[in-house]
Point group: C2
Chain length 464, copies 2
């Protein structure tokens, strides 16, 4: 370890309380990008981020888009051969509902003691992604104050629409290519292998989302006066969606698996060698057995197989008591997770054809909010992956795992296709963080060791 | 026509404006029995009804139950051989949701001009059942004022839980048998054959209702991090409910049709002779073809075949935008319409077995709010049916149709089994009244000619 890095790490440890206080400030802002009622909160979070970057020493500003604003900050190191990095994080968060399942209010962050994780930070966004992005900003702050500057040039870009499909992202990248195209992207929005084992994510599933609305009668009907003779759109919707998977968990949409690139035998063996117990992974959420395709292991189902999930369904009367109604409409929201080779548009079209083929008389289907991004995988033999893995091993005293991720981070695909940049995906989340669920948390140790990890990584990357 | 009846009818015509004003008062009370937030409004409606009965000349009071109160009023004619009647109506109404589909607020009744129906009364409950029950009370009021009293003894019972399954009804009938057991029940909660043709309903489907809640993971999960491997309860629910009907509309629950008593060939022929055009009936609600069992006519599907309808379904995220969630639970509300011979408990048990048989690993099903009442049919050769039909024909200048009804009026079955009373079901609703839907209405002519019809019926029944 260099003297400089030593001082940076000491500074991080010495200032851990003020770092935590800054994260708590950000967590108090309910920057829910999917709900227009919170648009002002998103602007407020963006302003907070820009002010924080400026305070650290970046040349930062809030940048308007047609949706939630972007935050961009620059720090330039004159001369030298170090690569220039683009750091990416997102300041927006998922809706907190259902509110009554939170033990403490989602936007009143608090520290709690947890039997498995020591001190935890409880709040919406604690892990996804405010806690994670702040590990990077705190590492930068420590470099600035302990070493007088960053060891390499860094551009920071913080998005406010990651949880709502990033509609403004591609136009923004297009319009600002020169400013944002750097040598590599650094992304802090993923997890570790486990709480004590760091990881670099090198394979991300893509996603295609869509909503289907089935309309039957022109108005709600009385189920006694019309029942049996009138077409019920809930029945039609359940009939169609209920046929989407076979008994083995396979998706029945025509052509769904056509373009799936199978993983290599080598990759398969590497994953099989990982200490992963599906019953332990599922046991933590009250389940016992993998529910996906039976001829794949649980890790393969999660990292390398596409899915069709119904994320929401609604139709008819859902209040207290009963209402004998045949509703006019019923609808469902779906997301498809995609693997390398699959084209989101082709999957969306396949789903539409699947629905339309099964529509009975007197029903129509409307498809709304369709969006998609393909899966991404990287060549892990590149030096940047090896250097970063080395830095992680020095902080955690354990080799870093190269892993896949079932989730989708569309930005990573955009960086690749729009700006020709590969991304280094390093995050400190753990599987029990309940992201997108009530009682989301981030381990205090993830936050503190995450910042220390980035401090080390920055030094290694400066020597690339 | 007798002089007395003549005067009663004249009085009804002369006082039609004040009668309408009284109905409007009742329609302003949002007595929604399925929603506990409206319990006070139900009490208020009951008090209004009791006060109105007292004003007419009944000995009336509000009677507590464990749920919404009953209203009971008595009028006794000394001597004579006329039968003693029990009139039944209900003062509670369906929830008005979705509110944004109403052209005027549901509890601010207004008169409107309608191209098909002349003047209409628009409000929740205008037809079901406030407008209907008021036809009877206005007929009684006119008899009292024009003839000095009613032509026969009448007990009035108005319920406040008809729209929420009548949980207090049987205990109330049991506890007050002597007070409520009369020679016949008169019920005003049904429809006419069409706007110009009166009808007596002699066959009512029964009903069995139940809610199923499917639980998968112990908490909501991220569909990226868990998708493919975690059991999704929406997928399980759609898969099970989607298999409940075959392609021909038949219900696949084991034993569902076992006890169905087929209608007689004679009845079938009589129904076939009725001027009923399914494409016209369905066309009014935006549909073209009957969706029920293909080997039965539309009228048979409506009046003599059982159904399984999903009235509501909900699970996961249903707000604006998307949320990549695998929810912990998903649920649906169902009602089964039953025909003579079917036992509600057996149907409920069959549904439970159907669900449980199809539950995959890691899912549980809970069944809530189960309730039921069997179907009812009457011997239409009894003199009371013939006398009532004669009175209707005199008012409407057309023979009354003896018809079936797809809906359920559990009280009618209770009158039969608990009190040994047959019921005369006469109502003045029309198919386009949108009961249980936004913009419910009652034709002003239904209200006025309905009251005149009851005035005539009371005279005929006094001579039974």
């Amino acid at each position: 370890m260099t003297d400089k890095l030593d001082k940076v790490l000491e500074t991080l440890d010495a200032n851990s309380e003020s770092a935590l206080a800054r994260l708590m400030e950000l967590l108090k802002i309910p920057s829910i990008s999917t709900n227009p009622a919170h648009d002002n909160d998103c602007v407020c979070a963006a302003q907070w981020c820009a002010a924080t970057l400026t305070q650290i020493g970046f040349d930062a500003s809030v940048r308007p888009t047609t949706g939630q604003p972007m935050v961009v900050g620059h720090y330039h190191v004159e001369g030298g051969n170090a690569p220039h990095m683009l750091f990416y994080g997102h300041y927006d968060v998922q809706p907190p509902e259902p509110l009554d399942e939170w033990d403490s209010p989602p936007f009143e962050p608090v520290l709690k003691e947890d039997p498995d994780n020591g001190t935890i930070i409880s709040a919406r966004g604690a892990s996804d992604d405010k806690g994670q992005l702040m590990t990077f900003l705190e590492a930068c702050r420590a470099w600035m104050s302990a070493a007088g500057g960053l060891p390499l040039s860094i551009t920071v870009m913080l998005e406010g629409e990651e949880e709502s499909g990033s509609p403004s992202l591609k136009p923004f990248l297009d319009a600002n290519k020169d400013e944002l195209k750097r040598d590599y992207a650094l992304v802090c929005d993923t997890g570790q292998w486990d709480a004590s084992t760091p990881a670099i994510t090198t394979l991300l599933r893509g996603m295609c989302s869509c909503e289907v609305v089935i309309t039957g009668p022109s108005r709600d009907l009385h189920s006694g006066l019309y029942g049996g003779v009138a077409r019920n759109p809930i029945r039609v919707l359940t009939n169609i969606l209920g046929a989407m998977h076979d008994e083995n968990g396979g998706v029945q949409i025509e052509g769904f698996y056509d373009d799936v690139q199978p993983i290599s035998a080598e990759q398969r063996e590497q994953w099989k060698a990982l200490p992963f117990d599906p019953s332990d992974f599922l046991g933590r959420v009250g389940l016992t057995a993998p529910a996906g395709e039976g001829n794949f292991t649980a890790l393969e189902q999660l990292w390398s197989r596409p899915t069709a999930e119904i994320n929401g369904i609604i139709g008819g009367y859902t209040g207290p008591g009963t209402k004998t109604v045949i509703p006019s409409i019923a609808s469902a929201k779906l997301t498809f997770r995609l693997v390398p080779g699959q084209d989101p548009q082709k999957i969306a079209d396949g789903f539409k054809a699947f629905v339309e083929k099964r529509l009975p008389d007197d029903c129509s289907a409307e498809f709304l909010g369709e969006r998609g991004s393909p899966a991404v995988s990287f060549d892990i033999s590149a030096p940047i992956f090896l250097k970063a893995a080395q830095a992680l091993e020095e902080e955690w005293d354990k080799p870093a795992v190269f892993m896949g991720c079932g989730g989708s981070i569309p930005i990573v695909e955009s960086f690749k296709t729009e700006l020709g940049m590969d991304a280094l995906l390093i995050g400190f989340g753990t599987d029990d963080n309940r992201i997108h669920s009530p009682n989301e948390k981030y381990n205090l140790s993830s936050f503190q060791k995450g910042a220390r990890s980035w401090a080390r990584i920055l030094e290694k990357l400066a020597a690339l």
